[in-house]
Symmetry: C2
Subunit: 151 residues, 2 copies
């Protein structure tokens, strides 16, 4: 399985929204109607314009197989350590259980290292027990509670 990684392009947007929607939790929160909800194109433009945000896709045999977003954040704490936040990790259903997710996260960790981050962090919904095991197997420690507040 040969994988390639690149930043998402505007032409990927429709496929990315499908990927977000094709998910236990995403099904009820995304909008796959056509034409594409302008909130998605606006969000994509904001991500693209921000040098500290990278929306990354992984391709296998030329097919878009997964996505995630990296945010690089400078902090004072831990003696001025930058961190990399990973969010929105999605693997297309046909590519699950094949080790692609692990390779994708390992790639993201290397990217964080290349950006001089000292900590990689992410939150994972407690309704996803497989994901929790997955991140622990990759060396992540569930040391924190992940709090959310919807406005």
């Amino acid at each position: 399985m040969e994988l390639t990684y690149r930043e998402a392009a505007a032409a990927d947007l429709e496929r990315l929204v499908q990927l977000l929607a094709d998910d236990l939790l995403g099904a009820s929160r995304e909008d796959v109607s056509q034409p594409l909800n302008p909130r998605y194109t606006q969000a994509f433009a904001s991500i693209e314009a921000d040098p500290n945000n990278e929306l990354i896709v992984v391709e296998s045999g030329g097919e878009l197989a997964g996505m995630l977003q990296l945010t690089f954040i400078p902090y004072l704490s831990h003696t001025g350590a930058s961190r990399c936040l990973i969010e929105g990790v999605r693997i297309a259903k046909t590519y699950r259980g094949k080790g692609l997710g692990s390779k994708f996260i390992e790639w993201a960790i290397e990217r964080a290292r290349g950006k001089n981050c000292s900590i990689v962090q992410l939150t994972s919904d407690k309704q996803r027990p497989d994901a929790l095991r997955f991140y622990q197997a990759l060396g992540f420690t569930a040391s924190h509670e992940g709090f959310k507040l919807r406005l």
Copy 2:
């Protein structure tokens, strides 16, 4: 108790590092030596240069009483919802237990609303049971595991 909120300035940096160090977990990870470790000044400059990062201090009677950092992040998920990430919340010891922390987080939530964020999120170390109760009382839901990986 009259509180004022403002972005941190370079002149606050020494005090902010003291605040980070005067903490159960921070004591072992911060460097309060003089002159200030240049990693702090570099991190501060990076935060100041990034329009999506705001290092906020709260003052009471002209005295710096607390700090936190806000990061505004555009995402595709939740139909293109921006989020506000809160990190590095610290309240000076003499100001704890007086409701200042709640007012500070409520201020941060309003700031997130003003920046059109749909979700406010944060992680809190499981070694801080008081903090966990504090965020729940403010309406946050501990729906996620917070994973960290030190590089």
